[in-house]
């Protein structure tokens, strides 16, 4: 099956500006989401995910304008996460030009929201973001739980069971982040990725911990992820999307050539 494994750069957007220092040499404005997204598209990104980290909900309208502006010049799938709590948030983002929205905390507090959302706009637009943390001791059967508030609050929900439940409710895709690995650059939690990917009938995007190109390969081979998401290795100019694709292709992974 030649369906390509996707590489997805993730951009954190605060009040309409990309944060976490994206370093493109020839870019004029390192904080401009449009310019950065266009650059990633040219490099061969298969999709772009925007994470709205704006603190105040009053400023969320800014994100709508960001999506509108990006969707006018970048013609690849766009996903928006962060602050998606109501159907009207979803509709606003889709109408602005997003293809999918990622629901995270709202799904934990109100699972019916996922059912309602997929019913209203279609499963293909609904990504459920899962933040999981390993809770088992090393010698026991591995187990992960869903955490909220940036990995600080446990919910008691089993991650694999939760992923199944979300797809039963209509999630069209799972964006899986290992809270143990996020920011460590030590690679994905492959056991977690594989467990979730095996458990659900929909695509799984692995996230959290990418530090090398081999980590991306491991995510899809050992982890059986359908897509890999990374932020810092691309933003800081360590590797380009093109280099990532070349490396993956050289290691037997089907990627989209551009």
């Amino acid at each position: 099956m030649p369906l390509a494994k996707r590489i997805i750069p993730c951009l954190d957007v605060d009040n309409g500006r990309v944060v976490k220092g994206v370093r493109f040499v020839e870019i004029r404005d390192a904080g401009d989401p449009v310019e950065i997204a266009r650059r990633y598209d040219e490099e061969g990104a298969d999709e772009i995910t925007f994470l709205d980290i704006t603190a105040s909900s009053d400023d969320r309208e800014t994100m709508v304008h960001v999506v509108e502006a990006v969707a006018e010049t970048v013609f690849i799938p766009l996903t928006v996460g962060g602050g998606i709590r109501e159907i009207k948030d979803i509709r606003r983002m889709l109408n602005a030009g997003a293809d999918k929205v990622a629901i995270n905390t709202a799904a934990v507090f109100n699972p019916d929201f996922v059912s309602e959302a997929s019913d209203k706009v279609g499963s293909q637009c609904i990504v459920v973001a899962i933040d999981a943390k390993r809770v088992s001791t090393t010698d026991a059967e591995p187990r992960w739980e869903i955490f909220t508030h940036g990995g600080r609050k446990p919910t008691g929900l089993d991650a694999v069971e939760w992923a199944r439940e979300m797809t039963r409710r209509g999630a069209g895709e799972i964006l899986l982040t290992s809270m143990d690995r996020d920011g460590t650059q030590q690679g994905f939690d492959l056991e977690l990725t594989r467990s979730i990917s095996d458990a659900v009938p929909v695509p799984v995007i692995a996230s959290g911990g990418v530090g090398t190109l081999q980590h991306l390969v491991d995510g899809v081979t050992t982890g059986k992820a359908d897509a890999v998401l990374a932020a810092s290795i691309f933003h800081f100019g360590v590797y380009s999307i093109g280099e990532a694709k070349q490396y993956m292709a050289a290691h037997g992974v089907d990627v989209r050539s551009t």
């Binding site: 099956m1 030649p2 369906l3 390509a4 494994k5 996707r6 598209d41 298969d46 969707a71 006018e72 010049t73 013609f75 690849i76 799938p77 889709l94 109408n95 602005a96 030009g97 293809d99 279609g122 499963s123 293909q124 069209g172 895709e173 009938p201 929909v202 695509p203 359908d226 897509a227 989209r256 050539s257 551009t258």
Partner: protein
């Protein structure tokens, strides 16, 4: 030559902003792109884009209640016509979706769901992501697009035309399926050219320049 008009048919199924923006992007000053549900405007347009999203039954319901089904049949007589995603599927006769749905029946053939398994491997459905479109015969809409170029797909069902000679593009996902169909002034494709970066934009550009001859 006067500036031509491209009508993007809006029958309330899904978000058409991306289709509109992508067409505007490639048309530049060459054509005016109109998002419309008005039968008169559609009838007066030089070319028609027929998108679609969502479930087969909802699409058919929307087409009938807006009477766009009749407009589609009319415009298909003569004008360059581009079906996209569900805009391809609803042209067929019958879909397995929603316990069986009668479609427009413009192209004889069925719409089937992807199998859950392929040999030993489980197949994730929807078929979501970038996949190759192999050009089984040349077509003006494939101009300057490499054979096997990647396009972006999101769908759980695929078309099986009765007449295999209508197939111009195929894609493999568990099964080898028809991803593009052409007949006279009609071209319809399963993927989303408006989300398929350069290859997709090229196809849309080719459509705007197409004289409707295959």
């Amino acid at each position: 030559m006067a500036r031509q008009t491209v009508a993007v048919i809006d029958y309330g199924m899904g978000n058409l902003r991306s289709v509109l923006k992508a067409l505007e992007h490639v048309a530049d000053t060459q054509a005016r792109i109109l998002l419309t549900a008005d039968p008169k405007q559609i009838a007066n347009a030089d070319r028609i884009v027929f998108p679609g999203q969502g479930a087969a039954r909802d699409c058919m319901r929307a087409l009938r209640s807006t009477q766009i089904d009749a407009v589609v049949r009319d415009t298909l007589q003569s004008k360059p016509f581009l079906g996209v995603c569900m805009g391809l599927q609803v042209l067929m006769s019958f879909s397995e979706e929603n316990e069986g749905t009668e479609l427009l029946g413009i192209l004889p053939g069925n719409v089937q769901r992807f199998p859950e398994r392929f040999h030993e491997q489980r197949l994730k459905v929807p078929h979501m992501g970038w996949n190759n479109v192999y050009q089984v015969r040349p077509h003006p809409l494939f101009k300057d697009i490499h054979d096997g170029s990647y396009f972006y797909f999101v769908h759980s069902y695929y078309v099986v035309p009765e007449d295999p000679t209508l197939t111009v593009g195929v894609t493999e996902y568990g099964v080898r399926f028809t991803s593009a169909i052409a007949r006279d002034n009609l071209f319809a494709i399963q993927c989303h050219p408006e989300k398929s970066s350069h290859a997709g934009l090229q196809l849309l550009k080719n459509f705007i320049n197409w004289d409707g001859q295959s």
